[in-house]
Subunit: 404 residues, 2 copies
């Protein structure tokens, strides 16, 4: 008998009917002969509702108490899903994160999993129970309740699959796999049958919101194969694996579009050693994640420095820059949120020359100006005007003949 | 610095404004110089809402999963109350029952507290935190989440007061104390300033719904003085104590009215040894609590047996009786739910003769027929017709001159 870890997100358990539907899918897997561990998120909008409740009490609730509050969302889901499986005639048992000793660090609202004790799950599986686990949550060394932040239920599922040595972790979502581009933007986008974890990671960080990047990283680190598939349809989805034999190498696997960033430009900074170091150290200390950076020598000894940050961090980043501006000798400071990032991702990119050039040509031919470029081994990203972002995605997708 | 345990029920934390109001009361106590441990129930209708949600999944949810589900109610309350206290500028820290090692037996939905480890609360109090604890819940020896059943938050508060050796456990409720009778029925009922725990226990079991009987029993057992008072007014309420020097002995402390019971009568049962034993053993095995019992020799060697059970248990009790009827040789079986129980309670009753007679005379003079009578050291109860119950309460209250 095999073992499958299945994760269902909030939209998959949004109401009573959907919970029953999930119970049916879990039962189908179990009846096909596999032991099943199910990880669930909070019902639909529960988490947002709880946040709103907290904000009615105080505009700045403490992170520790937010975790006590928010972890109730998944706890409700696991109880209801267990009941739904009972109603279908099978044994199921639910556990919260703390009950399973999912131990995390103490960074409330964005905790990282340090260890998971599989003893209790194994005992329940040995008793032929279907095991239902609350995603997104754990406890720190001092028994405080913690939550894992965005994509936390994915991370819980991957951690359980790793510690239980499950051959696959199935991530059920409202799309039926990872596509070569967002089908709402690129009508002929195709579902990718198999892709490399590194590609998935870059797609996630480049804005393809199918799965959280941290969870993919976790899966890659522990060699857990992921199967990303639809909660609502039985079809095979996208397999994310590190096993080379299952992968065909292509220069470009897909095109991502990300509108989450803003650009900050500091003009005419004297080109002295240590200026960049001071700026980006200060931003890092203010907990601002910087994505792309370019520095052009503009006139004489002065350079323009541009970089992108998440829109959520923009105000904090601007405060840091304003405080440093005269200190580093910059002349002006500007923020620009009307940008988007278009990226091509492919593990085969490094071995082929001219891949980036194809992208740049396609954008140039379509009259799309490239404002910033960043490259990695398996990704090339271009910052373009926001209003041209969808057109840019389409022409790049076509240039690599990714369509169906 | 003293220590106070304060318990706030669901109606005291029904919405955001009331939570803020509770936070203010807790802060007032703390600012007056006491360390405070607060026990809270689930917000207003949360528990009922969760039960409804479960019933949409299955008509018979498992008790274990119901506890996982229902315990989220208090968890939401503790987080919000902590946040409200933070917003008023003081440190507060919340704990669930399992986090505090409130260990219970494994009787889900009606678990009993076996032990409480005060270490973590003491540590938090030493750090000058206001400690907020989820009532109604704990964990069993195997780390399963349990709930304590009706009045569970009162029991949690009393258990914490006992283990922390607090000089008083304040029970905040929507009435401002225990009255000589229900003021909605008896307009001149007075608030009782001090009463004996035994009296409170009998009042609770006789239908005065201010506080759960099991929690009062717990308080009596561990010698924890209770102060029952209003969440919404600052007045002193009713002190429940075992200290004789604080109590004036009166024959009757108050009059209770209880409509929770139904009467079952089995007619013409042969008066053989062992018949009652068989009947009441069978009822007990079916988890039916029997309250009052009378047995009259009716004609020849046959007796009528009447007894009262909680209305919730009536169907179960009737099933047991039907199965046994021919076996014990009874002739007919009848259930009657149009009854009510009027009781007088007073620790001084045992030392005075004629107290019960005053009650019977008052009822007789008012034309109220007494169908069953039960007496204990400090209580006399009469079963009357339901439609005469309020009048019966008023005349008995007047007969003992309990009015203001």
């Amino acid at each position: 008998m095999g073992l499958v870890v299945q994760k269902f997100g909030g939209s998959s358990v949004a109401d009573v009917d959907r919970i029953k539907h999930v119970a049916k899918r879990v039962m189908d897997t179990h009846e096909a002969g596999d032991a099943v561990v199910v990880v669930v998120s909070a019902l639909g909008d529960t988490t947002d509702d709880l946040i709103q409740l907290a904000l009615q009490i105080t505009p700045q609730p403490s992170d520790r108490e937010m975790d006590v509050l928010m972890s109730t969302g998944e706890q409700i889901s696991i109880a209801l899903l267990s009941m739904a499986i009972h109603a279908m005639g099978h044994d199921a048992i639910s556990f919260t994160g703390p009950q399973l000793d999912i131990v995390t660090d103490s960074a409330h609202r964005k905790a990282r999993i340090l260890s998971v004790d599989p003893t209790r799950i194994r005992r329940a599986l040995d008793q032929d129970h279907i095991v239902i686990v609350a995603g997104f949550q754990g406890r720190d060394a001092d028994e405080n309740i913690t939550t894992l932040g965005r994509g936390g239920s994915d991370t819980t599922a991957v951690a359980l699959a790793a510690v239980l040595e499950a051959p696959v972790c199935e991530i059920y979502t409202d799309v039926d796999g990872v596509y070569t581009a967002d089908p709402r933007i690129v009508p002929d986008a195709r579902k990718i049958p198999v892709m490399h974890a590194d590609e998935m990671l870059e797609m996630a960080s480049a804005g393809s919101q199918v799965m959280n990047a941290r969870a993919v990283e976790f899966a890659k680190k522990y060699g857990v194969p992921l199967h990303i598939r639809s909660s609502f349809a039985p079809d095979t989805g996208t397999l994310v694996t590190d096993k080379a034999e299952e992968l065909d190498e292509v220069p470009v696997r897909g095109v991502s579009l990300d509108r989450a960033d803003s650009k900050i430009t500091i003009r005419q900074v004297p080109d002295r050693p240590g200026v960049s170091a001071r700026l980006f150290t200060a931003l890092s200390e203010a907990d601002v994640n910087v994505d792309m950076i370019i520095q052009n020598v503009a006139e004489g000894e002065k350079a323009d420095i541009s970089f992108t940050v998440n829109k959520d961090d923009l105000n904090r980043a601007m405060t840091v820059c304003e405080a440093l501006l005269s200190d580093i000798g910059g002349q002006a400071l500007a923020a620009d949120s009307d940008i988007a990032k278009v990226s091509i991702v492919g593990a085969g990119m490094a071995e082929r020359s001219g891949v980036a050039a194809v992208m740049f040509s396609a954008l140039g031919d379509a009259g799309v100006n490239i404002e910033m470029i960043a490259t990695s081994e398996i990704k090339t990203s271009c910052i373009v005007r926001a209003w041209q972002a969808e057109e840019a995605t389409r022409v790049v997708h076509a240039a690599f003949a990714l369509g169906g």
